[in-house]
């Protein structure tokens, strides 16, 4: 018995405002693997945790949206670097959560890391793609530039616990939004562990806030929350999505409806970024046009 050692279990906690609190309610629920074997207890968040997360996300919005796109790209790339160093842990967690073999889980984690790199590259390019100078018939420049929508509530996909999660969170924060994320209800552990990586990647506290618990219970107050600007319904089933979209209409939130995704590993495109961007258009006088039709 002398070489026996007591196991040190990990207490999974929420990630809110750069800190790792337990649920305000003190509740937890049991998380089991695909075969029903107990893995860990995860916090069962309440609506007050959601409220606190929105406060944290709102507080972080000014600094994050005001950071240069270049800086945001560096930080997103840093997240990929940090994940790479803890790859084995995530492979294990994803294998447990989704019932995959080690090699298949490894493919998922690699794809998730590459996803961060993909969006890190987009941060300082999206403005050139969706913004620009617009031709107008008058003595003006007319310029459009994309701006982040604000605080985005994200319902992470229920099935793909890690790659799916990264695929919906990264595009939201890449463009300068801040996010309140509800992890997969059945498999929240990879998401909760992601908080530990985000906390050590120079990502300012509050830019991403991760909650675990019953998706329907947490999503309802977020969808109705007057200080949330948009909601991504990726993790909602049809009935819940409809209910949330109705609740979200009150303050005209941007709503991204759940879309059928066959394979999260496919190249994502820019749709998830542009869904949470506003276009600001400014008119800038150039002076009167001369006889030639141009003043310059």
């Amino acid at each position: 018995m002398s070489d026996a050692r007591l196991s040190v279990f990990k207490t999974y906690k929420l990630y809110v405002g750069g800190k790792f609190p337990r649920s305000e309610s003190g509740r937890v629920y049991e998380v089991s693997d695909s075969k029903g074997k107990w893995l860990a207890n995860a916090p069962l968040s309440s609506r007050k945790d959601a409220r606190d997360a929105v406060v944290a996300a709102r507080k972080a919005f000014g600094g994050w949206s005001g950071a240069t796109a270049y800086n945001r790209g560096q930080i997103l790339y840093r997240i990929a670097e940090m994940l790479e160093g803890r790859r084995d842990q995530y492979v294990q967690e994803v294998a447990d959560a989704e019932g995959l073999s080690k090699s298949k889980a490894g493919v998922q984690v690699d794809a998730a890391i590459d996803r961060w790199v993909w969006y890190a590259g987009w941060t300082d390019k999206i403005a050139q793609v969706v913004g620009g100078g617009n031709p107008v018939a008058g003595p003006f420049f007319n310029l459009s530039s994309p701006e982040p929508t604000g605080v985005v509530a994200v319902l992470a996909p229920q099935e793909s616990s890690f790659l799916g999660l990264v695929s919906v969170v990264a595009p939201v924060i890449a463009t300068g939004n801040t996010a309140v994320v509800i992890a997969s209800e059945k498999s929240p552990l990879p998401a909760l562990s992601l908080g530990e990586v985000l906390a050590t990647s120079d990502l300012p506290g509050g830019v991403v806030n991760i909650l675990s618990g019953r998706t329907a219970e947490i999503a309802a107050p977020l969808a109705a929350h007057q200080d949330v600007n948009a909601i991504d319904l990726a993790g909602a089933d049809e009935a819940l999505a409809k209910e949330l979209e109705i609740a979200a209409a009150d303050n005209l939130k941007r709503v991204l409806r759940p879309q059928p995704v066959d394979e999260w590993s496919a190249t994502p495109g820019t749709e998830r970024m542009t869904a949470f961007l506003e276009t600001k258009t400014v008119w800038h006088p150039t002076g009167s046009l001369g006889a030639s039709g141009s003043s310059y």
């Binding site: 409220r51 709102r58 109705a224 929350h225 007057q226 949330v228």
Partner: protein
């Protein structure tokens, strides 16, 4: 039934009644009698005081009780702007907000008062005309109070002449800390006289500068002996402002003073109270310490500015079931 029991119980576990023997008139007869009286007040059990304030802060106030508390707290706010950058426009906006804190819901009660510098009293008076909202003015060389008595009195007279319903004076902390209690007393008496019958006097102790709880208790009694209508924690201009503990201490003082003399004095914590949750904790302190008689904006006030927005957001949440946000209240 419960509240009566709780109040009785509260008396048992807080300080024994601190009031001196009847005959308080003698106390202020001379410097030495005043000093003997103030130093004869029982010492404050700092650990017990803070523990009691903290334990009262754990009460859960929900649903209808919360709705009542929020409305009561809104009606107790002295909506304050005391900046060098105050403009007439800002004071008018503040006055409009005091009268109708939430324009989208006219059932929202008005605040108790607006609190401004003396030169803005006339503007504020005009802005709240026709409503029950009072105009309070800070005076006596606020916030430091470092000026001659003549200057302080002129400051007060100007505010009262401009129509202030309430005057918030600061005590001379230097004199108080030097042990010159009679000077502080005489100043309060003189200011009270300058207020005349039309303006109620709030006396600010600046508890953050008084160092000890014993000093806060002495200052409270000194202020009440000198005729204060309200005792107020702080100016909001120093690092430590109103805390549950120092407010609890002052509530005990007004309770004991009324038991001794029959004169009721109000309490106003000011500065540092920013959330509805904090405000409700203070209301619990009031109810459990001084009692229901003080649960009225004639006897209890909050000196605050940003607190009102949080109260309104909580009120909206209660009414609609949706969490509100800063986009739905005014930016002051």
């Amino acid at each position: 039934m419960y509240s009566r029991y709780a109040r009785r119980y509260a008396r048992l576990v807080t300080m024994p009644t601190t009031a001196p023997a009847p005959g308080l008139a003698d106390v202020t007869a001379s410097d030495s009698t005043l000093r003997r009286f103030l130093h004869g007040l029982p010492g404050v059990d700092a650990v017990g005081l803070e523990a009691r304030a903290a334990s009262l802060g754990t009460r859960s106030i929900k649903t209808t009780a919360k709705a009542y508390a929020l409305d009561l707290a809104i009606s107790m706010v002295d909506l304050t702007t005391l900046e060098g950058a105050d403009t007439p426009g800002k004071v008018r906006a503040l006055g409009a907000k005091a009268v109708h804190p939430d324009p989208t819901d006219r059932a929202t009660p008005a605040t108790a008062a607006v609190c401004v510098y003396p030169d803005m009293v006339a503007v504020a008076k005009e802005a709240v005309a026709g409503s029950d909202v009072k105009v309070a003015s800070v005076a006596t060389a606020f916030p430091a109070g470092r000026a001659s008595l003549a200057v302080k009195l002129a400051d007060v007279r100007e505010a009262v002449a401009a129509g202030a319903d309430e005057v918030d004076m600061v005590i001379d902390r230097g004199a108080f800390l030097a042990g010159n209690y009679m000077k502080v007393y005489d100043e309060i008496v003189a200011v009270k006289e300058a207020c005349g019958t039309s303006a109620r006097l709030k006396v600010i102790f600046e508890t953050g500068e008084l160092s000890t709880y014993d000093n806060i208790r002495r200052a409270s009694w000194l202020g009440m002996l000198a005729g204060a209508d309200f005792i107020k924690t702080s100016t909001g201009k120093v690092a430590v402002n109103a805390t549950p503990a120092n407010t609890l201490l002052m509530l005990e003082a007004v309770r004991d003073f009324r038991a001794q003399t029959g004169v009721q004095v109000g309490v106003k914590p000011a500065g540092g109270i920013r959330t509805a949750k904090d405000a409700i904790k203070f209301l619990v302190l009031v109810n459990e310490t001084a009692g229901e008689d003080w649960l009225d904006n004639h006897w209890f006030r909050f000196g605050a500015s940003s607190l009102l927005n949080d109260l309104l957001m909580q009120r909206q949440k209660l009414a609609t079931g949706r969490y509100s946000g800063p986009d739905y209240v005014t930016v002051d």
